[in-house]
Symmetry: C2
Subunit: 343 residues, 2 copies
DNA sequence: CGTACTACCGTGATCGGTGACGGTCACGCA
DNA sequence: TGCGTGACCGTCACCGATCACGGTAGTACG
């Protein structure tokens, strides 16, 4: 029993087309007619049916979101994905686009669900986060030519691009901070290497170490997988070295927390014996004791950048999309301190 | 350039209606025709346009999700909402319904965005989580007669119901656990009282205390607001009492963590001096040291129950919806221990 | 052989909008 | 007066599907 445009047209004594024009803010409607129509529409509580609208306009004003909370497998949760989602949602709320949540499952008929859902619902664009960018499904989506934006994952194509924080400079900032505190024996725990965030953060670590004239002893680069256990294990390995580090840069907060626990388990203190820096500034970072020094990504800014980028790609047919790289920001908390004086 | 049903019809030498029938599994199509059509559809990669479909069928196969990460205001994040979202998403993935994310902002024309989006997109149902159930917007949505299900928030109406964990028995289990460890001076920190979860957990606390024959001294019931600072402050208030408790039940993990920090700040240990139990089993609970004993909600089960409930309401025009109450489960970690022997 | 019934399929209306196109009318100007 | 112009609005053909209805052919049955 919803009121439709025909009803509005009848009650205001004009044709459906005029109602459509008036309500869509098109110019060729007289002011008095327009306001009469608006009045009637308000009274009747009329709002346009989006399916019908989308059908004829060939655009849905909807974007899809592929949102996975765990990388391949599901060993645990990546809490920063919630922040990313919130950032995106807030940024999107201003644009008039709606958001549809897509699950990365394959549909029954074999065609991948990503592409299928995007097609079936006529999604104007898709945002990806938390999925592996090398998944065939993702590649199929990209190459389908639909506008895509990756958040913290590197997708590229004629109508695809990504937003990420600058993992290289972020990592460099972390190391600079430690160097400024007098640390020279600085190790790192990386994420799993196929992921661009892990690679770039490692690169930043190496850059900054070289720049500071510090060398990286054998075993100072431990590869983890972004989950807490790997931080714990990697830290244990570092502690077992002949020359254990006085500071550790973990390429993810969860791993940093695991490392802090390993340090505590070994009877050492943070930052008294070893300083720890993380990356991401997840909620946990502020809660954990001692508070974790980390590199913060501004999720709101990332969300806004993603929305801006996506709308550009969607609006400009042949807009050459530029990846957006936002700077990370060092948040100093209690997990880092001056190097312990040599005994 | 998408292939439509007309194209499929032409290539398989039948009418559009027959294609529609065949692909929707309707009976009155001969087997040979059906398989020929399916063959053609597969070759062409045809999938039905959902907008057109929804338009004529008067159902969108889409449900809306109102998902707020912070209760009124935005003092912080409630991390268990991510888990709820994941649970819901997984449960929904099996049903063929898609999920649309709704933002609780008011639209320009004054009609509330909840109702408006639900109407405009013809959503078949709505799931609510993380919002205050007393918001006028929410009430408007409920009374619009659209099928609604609340997750961990109590909405009721002819076509609305909710799923929640049994906060009363969960809280009772927490207290039983503490009593079994020999505690007698047990305090509680509640969430903000308008929220049903806070009210019920307090009720469970009182029940179990009475059942155990323990009385609740003045000041043993502190009201917090589900955020970490309130846990911290409430714990300080409890420590300042003449007869401070030996155990604290916090009606939310974030508050429990705040309480643990306040205990540590006071130079006391958990659980040596004071045992702490939380509620929700958020990620933090496992990471924090000592690990937090807490009541776990099975988010997957909640998601499944919500989906089942919603589909029932949507399918049965006059189905009297029953609220689903799932049991919580006690997870014992390191934050609780036997009561300290009297000195 | 005529009729009834079943199985299968096509026709045309419809869902609720939008947009191209064309028509009317008042006005300005030669 | 005649004509061009622009502002405003209605008509009609879609968008891509579904569905009610009707038609046809083949079979069974009296």
């Amino acid at each position: 029993m919803r009121v439709d445009i025909r009803e509005v047209a009848r009650r205001s004594g004009v044709s459906m087309a005029t109602v459509s024009r008036a309500l869509n803010g098109r110019p060729d409607v007289s002011d008095v007619t327009r306001s009469r129509i608006e009045e009637v529409a308000r009274e009747l509580g009329y709002t346009a049916n989006q399916q019908a609208r989308a059908l004829v306009r060939r655009r849905s004003d909807m974007v899809g979101l592929i949102w996975e909370t765990a990388y391949i497998g599901s060993k645990g949760r990546q809490p920063f994905l919630q922040d990313l989602l919130v950032g995106l949602k807030m940024a999107l709320a201003d644009t008039g686009y709606h958001l549809m949540l897509l699950s990365p499952q394959t549909a029954a008929n074999g065609v991948n669900a990503f592409v299928q859902a995007a097609m079936q619902h006529g999604l104007d664009g898709v945002v990806l986060m938390g999925v592996n960018e090398h998944l065939p499904a993702v590649e199929a989506l990209i190459s389908s030519g639909r506008p895509c934006v990756g958040l913290d994952l590197q997708v590229t194509g004629p109508r695809a691009s990504y937003v990420t924080s600058n993992n290289v400079t972020g990592a460099e900032a972390a190391i600079h901070h430690l160097v400024a505190l007098g640390h020279e024996r600085i190790a790192t725990v990386t994420g799993n290497m196929p992921l661009i965030a892990a690679v770039d953060r490692l690169a930043g670590y190496r850059n900054a170490m070289a720049e500071a004239g510090l060398d990286i002893p054998e075993g100072y680069e431990q590869e983890g997988d972004f989950f807490i256990e790997s931080g714990h294990e990697s830290m244990q390995a570092l502690l077992a070295l002949d020359n254990p580090p006085t500071a550790v840069f973990a390429g993810g907060d969860t791993m940093a927390i695991g490392a802090m626990q390993a340090i505590a388990d070994a009877g050492l203190t943070v930052p008294g014996d070893i300083s720890v820096v993380g990356y991401d500034d997840i909620d946990h970072a502020a809660i954990v004791r001692p508070g974790l020094t980390t590199i913060s990504q501004d999720y709101l800014a990332i969300g806004q950048a993603a929305v801006r980028l996506l709308t550009q790609i969607m609006d400009d047919e042949d807009h050459e999309p530029q990846p957006q790289v936002l700077p990370g920001r060092l948040i100093v908390r209690a997990s880092t301190g001056p190097v312990r004086p040599a005994t």
